[in-house]
Amino acid sequence: MTSPTPLPAVSGEMPAEAPWRRLDRRMLAIRPVHQLLRAAVPLLVILFGARGNGQEWFALGGAAVVVAAGMAHWFTTRYRIGPTQVQLVTGLLRRRHLAVPLDRIRSVDVTATALHRLLGVAVVKVGTGRQERREGHELSLDAVSAEEAVRLRDELLHRRDVATGAPTPGAAASGAGAPGTPGAAAVPGAGAVPGAGAVPETVLARFDPRWLRYAPFTLSGLVTAGAVLGFLANFANDVRLDLGHAGPLRTAAEQVRSAPLALVAVAGAVVLLVVVSLLSVAGYLLAYWNFSLTRHPGGTLHVRRGLLTTRAVSLEERRLRGVEITEPLLLRVVAGARCGAIATGVGGGELLLPPAPRAEAHRVAAAVLGPPDPTGVPLRAHGRAARRRRYVRTFAGAVVVTAALVAAAAGGVLPGWPWRVALVLLLPGAAWLAADRYRSLGHSLSDGYLVGREGAVVRRTFALRRDGIIGWRLHRSFFQRRAGLVTVVATTAGGRTAYVVPDVPETLGIALADEAVPGLLRPFLEARPTPGG
């Protein structure tokens, strides 16, 4: 490997001014190609749209500008890691100087597209925990060599003396193996994005091909299918391709038109189901192939995944505030679940486990938070008033829709069958949904965690560290006050920022908040006037 190895980095007695480093030289080749791909559609449109009146030159000129800009990025970008901060200077026309204090770094992501991996480099993104994700305001090194990426991650996150660590066998192997066939990525740990570092990491979860059976139940295929169709239609439109006149398609369309309607509907549904399932599996493979969740003894969790584009996310454990297990209805039917981290500085939830068996999700939750699994504790139900509220709210929705359909039928806007269908399907559906929503509802207070669960269409179970709760919201609507219920919301600095325990009986809810964060509510509590009777 002839990559320009930077000077020995951070050590005990750092010089005040660390040397500036450059991105990997291979970016001179990669970035222009990426930029060209990104600009491909407009360039192609110009090229195809040019009917021999010299507009081809615009396309070529545009491509030249794109290539030049891509190469300029390497010449204009420098970075260095000082004793207190990381600095990045970049930009040709607009120079930007970014500085991030080392103690504000909360995550380091290493991403590599297929092209990056082919040439053995990776993009390093430094997360500071600010919620703003404006383009250009995050510190991103696109790109450095794969070995340098590992070193940077260790340097930035664990702040340990990297110079003492010999080049790791894993990193060397990955560097050597990367330019080979893409198929080599099938071997665990052989991806260009670094495998295990010098320090042995504990594996908490690893990709299992049997998980693929959950892919069709994630609906991601539907999204992918939509995106693919949209892209194709857009492209066909751009290059002025009239699908109606393409020979095979036209014959197919004519055959469909002459077939009986029911047959077409059934066949269409089957085809759609198969296509969506296949796309889901493909999407799952692309996103989660080679997934692994490991724990670094330096106090970080590493998530690696991806078939073509690989991602390696590092998460400091001291930023971890809990986990959340998500079960969308379809996935729940086949006993599958996802697991995510609640961590400060990470909006949403950082993935800890892709759709997999529910037992596996609970096992990961236990492994991450330390056994016993807080999400597995028995939950306390919220009682009769909460159950009644589930039914009232669900049925109200069903009744309103049915009533609207009846009114429409009476007014002659719609035929008579829609409201009958609604009556037969919607009302029993509502009954089932309400029962299921109540079954899901519950909370518990274990040793270190507040645990809550709710939802039927998407059931979420969260376990939030009690010392991660930084405030309470106690919400009571008009009807909740009449029913004696309160929605208890714990706010925290990460994840979805508000974790909701809906419709708890009032006394129980206040006791819950009081017990979960001792002392906070105490000055505002008083003995309840003895209940009448």
Partner: protein, 176 residues
């Protein structure tokens, strides 16, 4: 399927304590302030509708009735909401916590430990300046949990913001 959670046996119910409302009411001038604001909002909606009803020919027959109903709702809202809200809106600051209560139909109590406070802002819109009122916003590291106290007397608001800022600065850590 996960088995349904067990019902709470009545004998294991926690001791009968209740969360009392915060001690302090907001400024009484908040009532005319809320009234003015609500009335202005309704006027923006109703006046154009009235003009259309009177001027445009061939309007549907139900339009005046709808307008009348909306006007009735407006009057009730403008008369009832500020009074109701004044009784609900309360606040309290202790050395350890900030506690607010707000809303009218939907009510919410928010509690944040002083040790987790990140910023304290006071804000005065034009209408609030007219009534010598201010809004205090206390934020924590959670995007979901700002505590807002509307309709505070301006000097009270300033004093409170100063005190809170001083206590917050004395607390170490990044409050996450």
């Amino acid at each position: 399927m996960t088995p349904p959670p067990a019902e709470t046996p009545p004998d294991r119910m926690p001791p009968a304590v209740t969360l009392r409302p915060p001690r302090h009411l907001v400024s009484p001038r908040a009532i005319p302030y809320w009234t003015t604001r609500a009335a202005a909002g309704w006027l923006v909606l109703l006046v154009p509708a009235l003009v259309v009803t009177l001027v445009v020919p061939g309007r549907p027959r139900w339009l005046p009735w709808a307008l009348g109903a909306a006007a009735l709702v407006a009057v009730v809202h403008v008369l009832v909401m500020p009074q109701w809200r004044y009784r609900v809106h309360r606040w309290e600051v202790t050395p350890d916590a900030v506690y607010t209560q707000s809303g009218w139909l939907d009510q919410e109590r928010r509690i944040a430990p002083v040790s987790r406070i990140q910023t304290v802002d006071t804000e005065r819109g034009p209408l609030e300046q007219l009534f010598r009122l201010a809004k205090v916003t206390v934020t924590t590291a959670s995007a979901a949990g700002p505590l807002e106290i509307h309709g505070l007397d301006h000097t009270t608001a300033l004093r409170m913001a100063d005190e809170l800022t001083a206590t917050t600065q004395a607390t170490p850590g990044d409050a996450t």
